[in-house]
């Protein structure tokens, strides 16, 4: 029982990331009809927004304190972060400490600009090109983006810790009346899951309850007809692209404390997220979210030692295996619509 709950919980954070990326992929695919292999790079860019902000906040000017000496006997150099000077040492320290959550505010405008630039500058020219071309050009873009990040940030993962208030773990088992110590769960993972749930709910609410969302949904179902009604679909779709970029970016921002960001994290997640989208059903938003969590949890179950003893290596391949089975038995995925990408 404890083991099962623990595995479900463990699967949630990865599942959240899959779901958020897959959601964006599906949105882009459903609205623009574009297969975006660069979507993982947006996730990665988001994560590096967090890295950048934490570095910006730690920018310091160096003063020499002649009254103190370091262990070599030279005058001690003191680094004072600018934020300490501006907001006072205590607030300044708190700001630096909370850089990851603060990065959300920092990342939103950046991701929107990146998303708009990407759609207007590149993707829009590929609406009518074959899917193979879309895959190839976005694949190239993904390589370019990750190489740029690698050039400026290096190849090594950059630890980006959560605020210390959330750094520890808590005893989830005791909270729900099981043996204390049976289920220890880090705070940040729970926060990540809650964050993902809020994001997903927000996207769905936006699509469900606003006129804008209604038009977009109608456009996803039948682009031509909506276009004929005299509604400027393309503009809305551009905005949807920016939103999808934003969702992926924020997913990346919040993921940084769980896994230190590196330049290839986008590609790692992209391949799996594509599998998630296909399992969920191309063009189905609900399917993408469902499949994201499902596969995240499944992956976590497959990593249990008991399972691994039974079927060694299953944790490495479970997602692909599920994808293959789903594609062969339900070609449209779990919740796919008819006629999407069947050619």
């Amino acid at each position: 029982m404890e083991a099962i709950i623990l595995q479900i919980l463990n699967g949630l954070d990865k599942g959240s990331a899959y779901a958020l990326i897959a959601l964006g992929l599906t949105l882009i695919f459903g609205t623009l009809g574009v297969v975006n292999f660069a979507h993982g790079a947006l996730f990665m860019l988001g994560a590096f927004c967090a890295v950048t902000l934490s570095r910006l906040l730690s920018l310091a000017h160096v003063t020499v304190d002649p009254t103190r000496k370091d262990f070599l006997g030279n005058p001690l150099k003191v680094e004072t972060p600018y934020v300490h000077e501006w907001f006072g040492p205590e607030t300044g320290a708190a700001i630096i400490e909370w850089s990851v959550p603060l990065s959300i505010l920092f990342a939103i405008p950046i991701m929107i600009v990146v998303g708009l630039a990407m759609e207007r500058g590149l993707i829009k020219h590929f609406y009518k090109r074959p899917h193979a071309d879309q895959i190839l050009v976005t694949f190239g873009l993904a390589i370019v983006l990750q190489e740029i990040v690698k050039f400026y940030y290096g190849a090594n993962p950059i630890p980006t810790p959560a605020p210390s208030a959330f750094a520890g773990s808590f005893d989830f088992g005791a909270m729900i009346g099981l043996d204390p110590g049976s289920i220890i769960y880090p705070y940040w993972r729970l926060i990540y899951f809650a964050f993902a749930a809020v994001m997903i709910a927000a996207v769905f609410a936006f699509l469900q309850f606003t006129t804008f969302g209604m038009v977009v949904r109608a456009g996803m179902a039948d682009r031509e007809t909506v276009g004929l009604l005299g509604i400027n679909i393309d503009k809305r779709f551009t905005i949807m692209f920016a939103i999808a970029a934003c969702v992926a970016g924020l997913a990346g921002v919040m993921y940084t404390p769980i896994n230190s960001p590196n330049y290839h994290m986008g590609m790692d997640f992209l391949v799996l997220s594509f599998v998630v989208v296909v399992v969920g059903g191309m063009g189905s938003l609900g399917g993408a979210v469902l499949a994201g969590f499902l596969l995240g949890v499944l992956e976590s179950f497959a990593s249990m030692t008991e399972v691994l003893e039974l079927i060694p290596g299953i944790n490495q391949i479970i997602i692909y295996l599920v994808a293959i089975v789903v594609l062969l038995t339900r070609p449209r995925g779990l919740m796919g619509r008819k006629g999407v990408m069947e050619q």
């Binding site: 296909v278 490495q316 994808a323 594609l327």
Partner: protein, 398 residues
């Protein structure tokens, strides 16, 4: 001759000549000169040029003809490599059994993957092949470590059984060869300042590539090839014409898998060290790029694409800051530093950035690849000439 028509025969002879003369062609700059770093005429690189040429030729049979975009072909190359290294460990260091078995094993694996993946088309097919390749990669790194050597990989050891070979002397290293001729055997020719290297391994790989190229030519010009092109244009209609398309696509998939296996086996014949990283999906992406860069669906395009990319990779990644400063020393100091700092991200370790940009540029500006560019150039010239003489432009499709 060779059952090829005139223009194909000319192309074939051209390729053969280029392969024979490659040590000269690829070494145009004298040794020790500033430009010597642009030379590609050394064995290691020449071997890779032809081996990846084979890989791309095979990929083109699938993607270029049928339009099915596989994102998992590196898996077949990897499987071929593992099969080859095991032949060398168990049987003999002679490359023939290694290569034959690598083709067969890759073909069987391709049959399995293709049988399942080809039930879907379009992006679903791409994802299925990607999933299979990533599965193979993950397994090679984890559970299959006894077979694949995991992270360390595999290489021939002195105490491997090798039942067909005479036992090695103590301290000797097992080397791959062909009936006693070492693959690494080289003969050098010095002409003035130039130094040309003729490597046995390269010529062996070149002969194999020539055969592979010839086979692909025959396939392209056969009724089978025409059926595959029809699959690309309108698979649905082909079914209503009485053709069962799935075995056709499966056959193409297996053939291209066997080509990948052959390339994998040859890689081992040249460098007897195998790791799972050659199965990673970026490797699959690379062969896609080679094919489209050269021109998918054209005969020689993929070979050019493979050669171009492998050459660029080699040359570009060797350029470093010092080299850049040497090039631009004639600029005023400030400008020199600026130019160097602009170019620097694209060279050396930044090779992948250049690769990504090339990828995008080709898809955006030249969807038909280098061959399409060449065709446009020659046609443009022809058109101009025709306009001058007042002749009509008559270019039949074939």
């Amino acid at each position: 001759m060779l059952n090829l028509d005139k223009s194909d025969l000319r192309l074939f002879l051209l390729v053969a000549a280029a392969l024979v003369l490659a040590p000269f062609i690829l070494n145009p700059f004298p040794e020790g000169s500033n430009l010597a770093q642009f030379n590609a005429g050394y064995p290691d690189l020449m071997q890779r040029l032809v081996i990846f040429g084979i890989f791309a030729i095979g990929f083109n049979i699938l993607f270029g003809l049928t339009g099915y975009l596989s994102f998992g072909h590196a898996a077949f190359l990897g499987v071929g490599s593992y099969a080859a290294i095991w032949m060398m460990k168990l049987l003999t260091m002679n490359v023939i059994p290694a290569i034959v078995v690598s083709i067969i094993v890759a073909g069987i694996f391709a049959a399995l993957v293709g049988f399942i993946s080809l039930r879907r088309s379009g992006i679903y097919f791409s994802i299925l092949t990607l999933a299979f390749a990533q599965m193979s990669y993950s397994l090679a790194y984890s559970v299959l470590t006894p077979i694949t050597g995991g992270e360390t990989g595999l290489q021939p050891k002195i105490n491997d059984p090798r039942i067909l070979d005479a036992p090695l002397l103590d301290g000797a290293t097992p080397t791959a060869g062909l009936f006693g001729i070492d693959m690494r055997a080289s003969w050098q020719l010095s002409v003035g300042d130039w130094l040309f290297t003729f490597n046995f391994g390269y010529y062996f790989a070149a002969v194999v590539m020539l055969i592979a190229f010839y086979v692909s030519m025959r396939i392209f010009r056969s009724p089978f090839g025409m059926m595959l092109r029809a699959v690309k244009t309108n698979q649905n209609r082909l079914n209503y014409t009485g053709v069962n398309t799935r075995p056709y696509t499966l056959t193409a998939f297996i053939i291209s898998g066997m080509y990948a296996g052959l390339a994998g086996g040859l890689l081992v014949a040249m460098d007897t060290q195998v790791g799972a990283d050659r199965m990673f999906w970026t490797a699959s992406g690379e062969v896609v790029l080679m094919t489209i860069l050269g021109g998918a669906g054209t005969l020689i395009g993929p070979v050019l694409g493979a050669g171009f990319i492998k050459y660029m990779e080699n040359v570009v990644s060797k350029i470093n800051e010092t080299v850049l400063h040497q090039w631009f020393y004639w600029l005023p100091d400030g400008l020199e530093d600026f130019v160097v700092s602009v170019i620097y991200p694209f060279v050396g370790k930044g090779w992948h950035l250049t690769l990504g940009l090339m990828f995008m540029a080709v898809v955006i500006f030249l969807p038909g690849g280098l061959m399409e560019g060449l065709r446009r150039l020659t046609q443009g010239r022809k058109k101009k000439a025709d306009e001058k003489t007042g002749g009509a432009v008559a270019t039949p499709a074939e």
